[in-house]
């Protein structure tokens, strides 16, 4: 089933639809938005028959198989169940939101976010790869952030969205860590491999870490105690969002995760303890808090927390039947809670308030909506003939069969019944306080029934509550069975979905819960008085103060470490680097290796002494910048001599020409910079820096020495052997550059070109004043272009260009090549600039250096692409020998074209930098007298 890969992406495509259709009517926009999810739902449902027969669809496109990255989707019973919930309720929410949102709200934006969320959720439930699952998991966090903060002009929306993102995002990071360890333990990131290796995982030493991390992800997402506080604050979202995210889908993602990894992680004592106790605590805390809420949505949010706790508790019980009950309750809770949220939204929309202290006696104003809401809340309370009753009965049955707490196991059914009592009490409050109990108080609007089609989604969901409650196995039997067997990764246990199981303990518990709940609601005034004695604490304030505390701490640490001094950062980095390298050097027994050293000779010693003296002179006189520059150039010259001495003629030539260009560049720059550096380092700092610098110098020198005196195991024999036969050149260095590693060279000239263009942009808008005198106050020489220099340089130019051409042409076989020829040409042209000035050159040499860089990189790339024409791989070179009279035998190689590209780029880049910098001294600009 290859279409499975594209199935989850249909909604992603759908995120664009509402943005395009938002300009038309809202109804058109809603219908257009619904089209793609409806198509997806249809396609998924068309496979349901096969899935009910036990089939499992999987499809994958490998990406980086070596590290387990792939795009993989699966459609099994569990994924099918969740997909139906996501798409089905999503479609109802689209219809509902069309009437809910006011004219000021951008419905296109809302729908786009909603569909993005739908896509993310679908990705989570259909993922067949751990990393991909996590990716979609994070996408649900981000898209839900956008949805919760949809009314961004409200403070509580922004704060609620931030809190939800922080909590679920932090959990997501824990989940990522858990999944990475899980994948590492199993040796595969494929979900199926993980599910099939449950015993291996549970036996592994990593198991406790994996369980804790994965559960952290699940608990934060599903608002389990003690992370439950974000859900009530997320109620600042528009009600369609609450109905969708906070009843049916997103908060169920954590539950889904636990169900998905049930075969791999569950069925151990650790799992039982964490999951069931967390679930039990959440079940009770949520139910208790829900009773005391005055906000309709607050009541529903806390009841959602409580029901999520119930499902978690079931998943933690460790019996197969409990898992079936959990799946069943997922379906039932989604239907009744989504309809209740929508009903609450209707009440809010048509009466202008959600406060149950003001909302009374709405039965008279909206009897139809009231009936629907009452049926749904009866289902929430667990009244017989409704779906909530069935799964609650299963829940009670399972609590009775629990023996994990030993002789204290009776606590679980007792606490479960207590939770049931609270559930009945808050459901009764929802019905009685809102629809009866006197007359409305100070409502902003006179309540009335909503538009016809706003009620349709509620009607559908409530109808489902009823039919599932009355004909459970007919409606959801197959779905539940296939989802349960997918959850267990094996056959589901036998169970019966009948309404009547005879007189037994679960029924007794239900009866106690119903009567106790009604009694509790009846005596609520005492309870409210009791509750009022507790100091109220707003989780939002606590959360904000914790965040504020962390921010302040972080700010203080940053202020202490980051003071804006680049030197300080380098100091830290270097210190750390020297510790790391020195500690590994200490493991080396001897500094010197086996290799015999080259004997010293007088010339080398002289050069070395000169190098050391000039380097030291550069440091000592670094504050007198011109002198430092001169001594620096001596160092550069000796370095090029060293290259020549140790058999690297190409390097010597390159270093020499770069040296010339660099010194010209630095002298030009110095014209605009202060000529001297004031003495400002404290003696302590000088000592500190000297110490660190010498330490690093010593370490680097040691490494260098140890390296050179050890035998060489090189890969270069390949290059030496194939240089002539494969690359057609005898200069191995050049053949490596233009042929073997041509792709690297292409990258490097591109970097060179980018650097030159960046410099060009930096120069273009530079506003620097030219000093009119040097640092000792003497005016600049009037003789800008000395006649001697002008004459000599002019006659040198053709010679220099000839040498450059020669160096270029022989490059493939003798020292030379595009880099060196390019630098020599640049030096020759710069000399003309120096001798004649920019204006003189501009009228004579019309070269656009930017185009030169572009064409250089273009030629190099094309010569590489050219090999494709002949059916070779990128940048393979071609060469052959030809014979011409007079000239004789000569070689033509495609590598030469590549080298031409290198040549052009080097000339273009060098000249773009220097010519533009030089121009700064000539264009008309304000001149201000320098004081130093």
């Amino acid at each position: 089933m290859s279409s499975l890969i594209w199935l989850p992406f249909l909604p992603l495509l759908g995120t664009l639809v509402p943005l395009l259709f938002a300009r038309f009517s809202r109804t058109a926009c809603a219908f257009a938005t619904a089209a793609l999810p409806a198509l997806t739902l249809f396609l998924i449902l068309s496979h349901s028959g096969d899935i009910f027969h036990g089939e499992r669809f999987q499809a994958a496109i490998p990406w980086i198989p070596a590290i387990g990255l792939e795009l993989a989707f699966r459609l099994d019973g569990l994924a099918l169940l969740f997909s139906i919930l996501i798409l089905g309720i999503g479609l109802l929410v689209i219809l509902y939101a069309r009437y809910y949102l006011s004219a000021q709200d951008s419905i296109g934006k809302f729908y786009a976010y909603l569909i993005l969320f739908m896509f993310a959720m679908l990705g989570v439930v259909m993922s067949d790869n751990l990393i991909q699952l996590w990716f979609f998991w994070e996408l649900t966090s981000i898209s839900s952030f956008l949805l919760i903060s949809f009314w961004g002009h409200k403070t509580e929306a922004r704060k609620g969205a931030r809190m939800a993102l922080t909590v679920t995002g932090a959990g997501g990071l824990a989940l990522l860590a858990g999944l990475l360890i899980l994948g590492d333990t199993v040796g595969s990131f494929s979900l199926q491999d993980v599910l099939d290796n449950g015993d291996l995982i549970k036996a592994s030493a990593n198991y406790p870490v994996i369980v804790v991390l994965v559960l952290l992800g699940a608990f934060t997402k599903s608002a389990q105690f003690p992370f439950h506080f974000w859900l009530p604050n997320a109620m600042a979202a528009p009600t369609p969002v609450s109905a969708y995210l906070h009843s049916a889908t997103m908060v169920k993602a954590g539950i889904f995760l636990m169900a998905r990894f049930y075969p791999a992680l569950a069925d151990t004592n650790l799992w039982f303890l964490i999951v069931s106790l967390t679930g039990l605590a959440t079940f009770l805390v949520g139910a208790y808090i829900a009773l005391f809420q005055h906000d309709l949505k607050g009541l529903l949010a806390n009841s959602t927390i409580s029901h999520l706790g119930l499902i978690t508790l079931l998943l933690g019980m460790g019996t197969d039947l409990a898992a079936v009950a959990a799946i069943f309750h997922i379906i039932n809770h989604a239907t009744f809670k989504a309809s209740l949220f929508m009903a609450a939204g209707i009440i809010d929309h048509e009466s202008g308030s959600r406060d149950m202290r003001n909302l009374n006696g709405l039965w008279k104003y909206m009897p139809y909506t009231a009936t629907l809401a009452m049926v749904a809340s009866a289902s929430m309370a667990g009244v017989p003939l409704l779906n909530g009753f069935l799964s609650k009965e299963m829940f009670f049955t399972e609590t009775l069969h629990q023996a994990s707490l030993g002789s204290l196991s009776w606590i679980i059914p007792v606490l479960a019944t207590l939770g049931g009592v609270f559930a009945v009490a808050y459901s009764t409050r929802f019905i009685h306080d809102v629809f009866f109990n006197g007359e409305p108080i100070n409502l902003p609007k006179t309540p009335h029934e909503p538009p016809r089609y706003m009620r349709v989604p509620v009607e559908i969901l409530v109808a489902l509550c009823l039919v599932v409650g009355i004909f459970p196995s007919l409606i959801v039997g197959d779905l539940l069975l296939s989802a349960a067997s997918a959850t267990l990764n094996g056959p589901a246990p036998s169970y019966s979905l009948a309404i009547w199981h005879g007189f037994n303990y679960p029924l007794l518990m239900s009866v106690i819960a119903l009567i106790g709940g009604l009694f509790m609601y009846y005596s609520r005034s005492h309870l409210f008085k009791f509750q009022a004695q507790f100091p109220t604490s707003d989780p939002k304030l606590v959360f904000e103060s914790v965040i504020q505390f962390l921010t302040n701490k972080a700010a203080r640490i940053i202020a202490a470490t980051e003071n804006g001094s680049l030197q300080r950062y380098i100091f830290f980095v270097l210190t750390f680097a020297v510790i790391m390298t020195a500690s590994s050097l200490m493991k080396l027994n001897t500094t010197a290796g086996q290799r015999t050293e080259i004997p010293l000779d007088a010339l080398s010693i002289t050069c070395a002494v000169l190098l050391c003296l000039s380097a030291l002179a550069t440091v000592i006189w670094h504050r007198r910048r011109v002198i430092a520059l001169l001594t620096l150039s001596v160092v550069g010259l000796i370095v090029s001599l060293a290259f020549a001495q140790f058999s690297a003629p190409d390097l010597a030539l390159t270093q020499l020409s770069v040296e010339v260009v660099t010194v010209i560049l630095l002298i030009l720059a110095l014209f605009f910079l202060p000529q001297k550096t004031p003495k400002e380092s404290s003696p302590r700092r000088v000592v500190r820096d000297l110490g660190l610098a010498s330490l690093i110098g010593g370490v680097i020198g040691t490494i260098c020495y140890a390296l050179m005196t050890r035998p060489l195991d090189t890969i270069s024999t390949f290059f030496t052997e194939n240089s002539k036969t494969g690359g057609g050149g005898t200069n191995i260095v050049n053949v490596i550059l233009v042929d073997f590693r041509g792709f690297d060279t292409l990258g490097e000239i591109t970097v060179l070109g980018i650097a030159a263009l960046g410099i060009y942009k930096l120069i273009a808008r530079m506003r620097l004043y030219m000093p009119s005198s040097d640092d000792s106050g003497l005016p600049w020489s009037e003789d800008r272009h000395p006649i001697l220099l002008t004459v000599i340089s002019q006659s040198l130019l053709p010679l220099a260009l000839l040498v450059s051409a020669y160096i270029f042409l022989r490059g493939h076989n003798m020292p030379g090549g595009g880099f060196i020829a390019g630098l020599i040409t640049s030096v020759a042209i710069i000399q003309q600039y120096v001798a004649h000035g920019v204006e003189w050159i501009k009228t004579r040499i019309k070269l656009d250096y930017q185009i030169m860089i572009g064409s250089g990189i273009g030629i190099a790339t094309l010569s590489g692409l050219g090999s494709w024409v002949f059916g070779h791989t990128f940048l393979s070179s071609w060469f052959d020998y030809f014979y011409l009279p007079v000239i004789g035998k000569f070689e033509l190689a495609s590598a030469m074209i590549f080298d031409l590209g290198v040549f052009l780029t080097v000339v273009g880049a060098t000249m773009l930098i220097l010519a533009n910098l030089g121009q700064l001294t000539t264009s008309e600009r304000p001149v201000q007298k320098e004081h130093d």
């Binding site: 300080r568 380098i570 020198g701 260098c704 080097v906």
Partner: protein
């Protein structure tokens, strides 16, 4: 010879790092240039030192390792681009900010020194 070579590399590194730790842009540029000499020599040395052994076929009996040479050759050119970028950045910083400090806040100096330090235009 290797010992002498290694000493020179170490000294260049030390000088380069000391200058890079100074608080003015020009010193940093000079320091980075020295450091890049050291790095190039170091990388080149990883192919071992050989006399009269240019990596050109038929020119000598044995060949020095061409691979580090090819790497260092491009490194020299890229190093030039980097130096140029750093120095232009330093000039631009002076043009836009009015001084050539790269050491965070302005150091507390006597007034006359402060005036001479490049904060003037």
């Amino acid at each position: 010879m290797e010992g002498l070579y290694a000493f020179c590399v170490g000294l260049l590194t030390a000088c380069g790092i000391f200058l890079a730790l100074r608080g003015r842009s020009f010193s940093v540029v000079i320091g980075l240039t020295l450091l890049s000499y050291a790095v190039n020599l170091f990388l080149f040395a990883s192919g071992r030192l050989k006399l009269n052994a240019a990596a050109v076929l038929g020119e000598s009996e044995q060949y020095s390792d061409p691979l580090p040479q090819a790497l260092v050759l491009t490194a020299i050119v890229i190093g030039f681009a980097m130096t140029a970028f750093a120095v232009i950045l330093a000039m631009r910083a002076r043009a836009d900010l009015g001084n050539d400090h790269v050491d965070g806040t302005l150091p507390t100096l006597p007034n006359d020194l402060q005036q001479k330090s490049g904060g003037n235009q």
